[in-house]
Symmetry: C2
């Protein structure tokens, strides 16, 4: 297994991909993104994966793609491998996961007492700033928000005039970037000068993109970027048609499910509308141990521009299949919702049960007789009598 929570790999083997710094990866991926631990059981939604491919290829699923009637809308899998990657050209982060569908017997087995591995988490000491026109112009350097600089950067010697130091930061590819950090001007401010423009042009940053600096517990400075959501960089892969990609994704899942063999998927957290590999426990709890109904109010977390999270509230307006013909009886984004704020026009009109936090006055769980959704028990799901962990 290659999931790493321990910083840099000093000597990557020839031809082998480096193990990325997982703190930095998570920071670039966003505060709401989590990767299930290796060895745990997860639910995989081909439909959600299909949405990601559609988003990447900027093309809807075509109607003439054949159905895979034997492919269930959700597959219970063991997560064998998780590796974090970053595009060499764009620094776009994505994850590669190896999944193995479990057969009926395996699904009945109780969970391991403690699931292997611990998912790596967001770093605590970091800041994220959206670049201004001045930050990206050739006219000057980078203006560091004061609190951010004092929290994240090594302290300056304020007895010197002006206080200054050289910062060294590493990006996802373990490249070193050096910046002159100076505290000057009237009023005083933190600036990155020498070295900054090289970084901007090398990463091809423009106003609106974001940079983030992390100060980790090993006193290393890490440096990541997040590009603004530009209008869909239409990038026909020039390798495979989007139809063939859809087919490939479905065929891979169907073949793996039929033979209980491993298959590999990619998950791009910033391109994908929602996570489509969910911890099994989270899924079961949301679907079978939470009572929801039309009219119920809920909260849901969203990421803000400053890389923090915010709660939005809304009301459930309906519960039904997103795609009744192709993906019948799926819980994938089966909840239709209305959002409280008028500024919520951008927010999705459909969510999945495990993404929301229903507001209720009575205890939700443990419940000996949970009020289930009125939908048939999906085939391929285990009976959960022996399940622990929630």
């Amino acid at each position: 297994m290659r999931l790493s929570t321990s910083g840099f790999n000093p000597q990557p083997h020839e031809g082998e991909k480096r193990v990325l710094n997982s703190e930095l990866w998570h920071a670039c991926a966003g505060p709401l993104v989590s990767l299930p631990p290796v060895g745990s059981r997860v639910v995989y939604f081909p439909q959600g994966h299909s949405e990601q491919v559609a988003a990447s290829t900027n093309k809807e699923v075509d109607a003439h793609i054949p159905n895979y009637p034997s492919l269930h809308p959700q597959l219970i899998c063991q997560l064998h491998n998780v590796t974090m990657h970053a595009d060499v050209e764009t620094d776009e982060v994505y994850a590669q996961m190896t999944l193995q569908p479990l057969n009926a017997q395996e699904q009945k087995d109780p969970y391991l007492p403690a699931e292997l591995g611990v998912p790596s988490r967001q770093p605590t000491n970091y800041f994220c700033k959206t670049l201004t026109a001045s930050d990206t112009s050739t006219h000057g350097g980078f203006s560091v928000p004061r609190r951010a600089a004092e929290k994240v950067f090594p302290p300056l010697d304020y007895t010197q005039q002006p206080p200054a130091q050289e910062l060294m930061a590493r990006d996802l590819h373990d490249n070193e970037w050096k910046f002159r950090h100076i505290f000057r001007g009237q009023p005083k401010r933190h600036l990155l000068t020498t070295g900054w423009s090289v970084f901007v042009s090398a990463k091809r940053l423009v106003a609106g993109d974001s940079v983030l600096f992390i100060w980790n517990d090993k006193n290393q400075l890490l440096l990541g970027i997040r590009r603004a959501n530009r209008p869909q960089t239409v990038m026909p892969s020039s390798v495979l048609s989007s139809d063939s990609m859809h087919l490939g994704l479905l065929a891979a899942a169907a073949h793996a499910a039929a033979t209980n063999s491993r298959f590999t998927i990619f998950y791009n957290p910033r391109a994908s509308p929602s996570e489509f590999v969910i911890p099994l426990a989270k899924y079961v709890k949301a679907v079978y141990h939470t009572r929801v109904s039309v009219g119920m109010r809920f909260r849901m977390l969203f990421e803000t521009e400053e890389s923090s999270v915010r709660r939005y509230m809304g009301t459930i307006t309906g519960i039904c299949d997103l795609d009744p013909t192709r993906w019948a009886n799926s819980h994938w984004r089966s909840v239709k919702v209305g959002w409280d704020e008028s500024t919520a026009g951008e927010r999705q009109p459909r969510v999945s049960l495990w993404e929301i936090e229903p507001l209720t006055t009575f205890p939700m769980y443990p419940s000996p007789f949970p009020l289930r959704l009125k939908r048939p028990w999906p085939p391929g799901l285990p009976s959960f009598h022996g399940i622990k962990n929630f």
Copy 2:
């Protein structure tokens, strides 16, 4: 149909991809690349397509990808659509084709008297130069080979001192590039000065890459690039695993063949080892109307660095399936060859029949009783009794 042989599309619709200049596209693709005309019948080799995907993803076909026993190694198709594309970031050229497998009855139908459309061809008045270190450095401009400049560029007024003019050229995306063209120095030479470095940095050209200038019959100057074959830019798609891509390509072809429905493929001439969509007539002539045997000598065309063609000679050393288990009875690269020149170490050890030109002293065709290869008539191929056109 969108195949264009008529220059620029002045007003591309919103959201619709522009029709690229086909002269320029062909020049960038290389002198040996041809696209069959729309409406014609072609043979599609999933195996060859698979090689292209393997090359793009830099990964061999994995053994655990399921076989598609019902998928023939070659599909006879009608070519419904051909569009030329160029990657917005890299200018890499590729073609998109819509193919429709023909059923047994359709394959028996005689050819149309004259097949629709005429394939666009290489431009005649152009030059291609591999960039030197001086060409790409920031120290100076671009040194234009003398004959090339005099043949391709508009004539200078040599009465002026020094003779100079402004050149305007358009690339595949219809972007304008302006260069100062001057004839100076001792000895005199043609140079591109002002404007050149902007082009080099915008296209990210390095020494070893090539540029090509075309002077077309509408007195327009066109400008293309060809990047050097760098050591495989490992570019994991971050969308789909290479296994799923392989599966998708096979599933798309199999589904289309089973339902006689259209499917779409991409062909990247500079990444693909060989063309895998071949005119049916060319295929039939090579496979069924040409006698080849072990020990026979042949010629084959290759592209040179200067974008011209050269013949290499060799000897047939064997005829057998490239992949007997997965693609039995396929003519795809079924000929094992040895090359005459010792410098031919880079040349492929296997070729397809339609790529080579056997050297023989007796007339090859028309032949009432052609000496066929000793291999069974592949299923799914028509009988060719009524075939004209060769």
